[in-house]
Symmetry: C2
C-alpha cells in the first residue's frame, strides 16, 4: 500500500501544535488512521454514525435521497481495527473543562463494550483530548472503570480528575505524520515495547 497521503491532501503546516489548533480530535485520529493504513501499520477505522432511516425518496434519474432520519445512540465505541495481530477498540472524547473529565461524556454501553473486548483478549481504551491544554491522553479501560464504578456503584465523584491523567494515563505526542501516534503508546503500554 503506497503512502499517498501527501499527494492527496496538500496542506500547509507550521509547527505541529499551532497547526492542530482548531482541528478536532476526530479529524486528528482519522488522519492518523489514514496514515497507518497507507503505510501498512494498522487497519483501524471509525465506524459510521448510526442513523435510523425513516423515509427515502427515489427521484427519477437521481440517487436515493434520505428525507427523514434520526441519530441513534451508538451501541459500541467509535473506533476499532487490527494492529500487530491484536484487536484494538477505543472511544475518543474531547474535554473542554480544566480540572476534570465528566463521566457523563461516556455511555454506559460503551464501558460494557470495552469490558467485553478486554475479556475476549482485545485492547480497549479511551483517547481523551484536553482542549484547554492541547493535550491528548490514552486512558486504559481499567483506569476509567475504577472511576466509573466509584461513581455509579458507590455514588462517588462523577468525573476523572486531571491529576489522574497525569499520573495513571499516557500522553500521546502530537506530530505531523501521523498527527496523533497513539499506536506508539499502545506499543509501550500493551505490547511492552520501547523505541
Amino acid at each position: 500500500m503506497a503512502l499517498n497521503y501527501p499527494n492527496r491532501k496538500p496542506q500547509v503546516h507550521k509547527e505541529a501544535n499551532k497547526a492542530n489548533l482548531g482541528m478536532d480530535l476526530e479529524t486528528m485520529i482519522n488522519e492518523s488512521n489514514e496514515y497507518f493504513l497507507n503505510n501498512d501499520i494498522a487497519v483501524i477505522h471509525k465506524k459510521p454514525t448510526p442513523i435510523q432511516i425513516v423515509k427515502v425518496d427515489y427521484p427519477m434519474r437521481a440517487k436515493a435521497v434520505i428525507t427523514e432520519a434520526y441519530y441513534k445512540t451508538p451501541s459500541t465505541t467509535d473506533y476499532n481495527g487490527i494492529y500487530k495481530g491484536k484487536y484494538i477498540d477505543f472511544e475518543a472524547k474531547e474535554n473542554h473543562n480544566k480540572t476534570a473529565f465528566p463521566l457523563a461524556n461516556i455511555h454506559p454501553h460503551q464501558m460494557s463494550h470495552l469490558k467485553s473486548i478486554i475479556k475476549h483478549g482485545g485492547i480497549g481504551f479511551l483517547i481523551i483530548a484536553w482542549n484547554k491544554y492541547n493535550e491528548y491522553y490514552l486512558v486504559p479501560y481499567e483506569v476509567a472503570e475504577k472511576f466509573w464504578d466509584a461513581a455509579y456503584k458507590k455514588d462517588e465523584r462523577k468525573s476523572i480528575p486531571y491529576e489522574t491523567f497525569k499520573k495513571e494515563c499516557y500522553l500521546i505526542k502530537e506530530g505531523y505524520l501521523p498527527r496523533l501516534n497513539y499506536l506508539k503508546v499502545v506499543d509501550e503500554v500493551y505490547l511492552n515495547k520501547k523505541d
Copy 2:
C-alpha cells in the same frame, strides 16, 4: 453478561429451515451475533450504514431531524469484532442466482480491506447466502481472491461457480440458537478445532 435473549424476544419457531424462509441474511447474522454477545462467546457487530448527512433540522423541543442525506459507499466490510482473541472481519452477501455468484456484488475496496486484515494477522472471509438453495457458505478470502484476480487481472469469468462453493467453501449449518453458527466453521477452518 446474562443470557437474556429468550426473554427479550419471545418467538415461536417451527423447523429451522421453514422458520428462516424469508428471513434475510443480515437479520440471521445479527441475531447470531446477539446470541454470541449475550453468551459471552464473541463480540461481533454490524457496522452502521455510512450516510452523508447534508441537512439537519432542530425543531423546538424535539430531537434533531436529518432532512437530507445520501447513502455512501462503505470503505470496509459490514462486520467485525473479536473471537477467542482473534480479530474477525467479514462481508455478507445474498445470491439469487442458481449457478454462480457474480463478483460484481463485492466492492473492490472490500477485497483490499480483507487482504489487509489477513496481512495484519486477522481472520477475513465472506458469508454468501444461496437463496435458491437455502444454503449459507463461509468463503475464505483466499478462494474469493483467486476468482477476483482471474476476473480482473486475466479477464476471465466474473463469478464464482456453485461447484466451487461445494468444493472449496464451508457450509454453515442453520439452527435455532444461534441461527447461523458461522463461528463453529471459523473454529474448524481457522482455529483447527472440531467438536
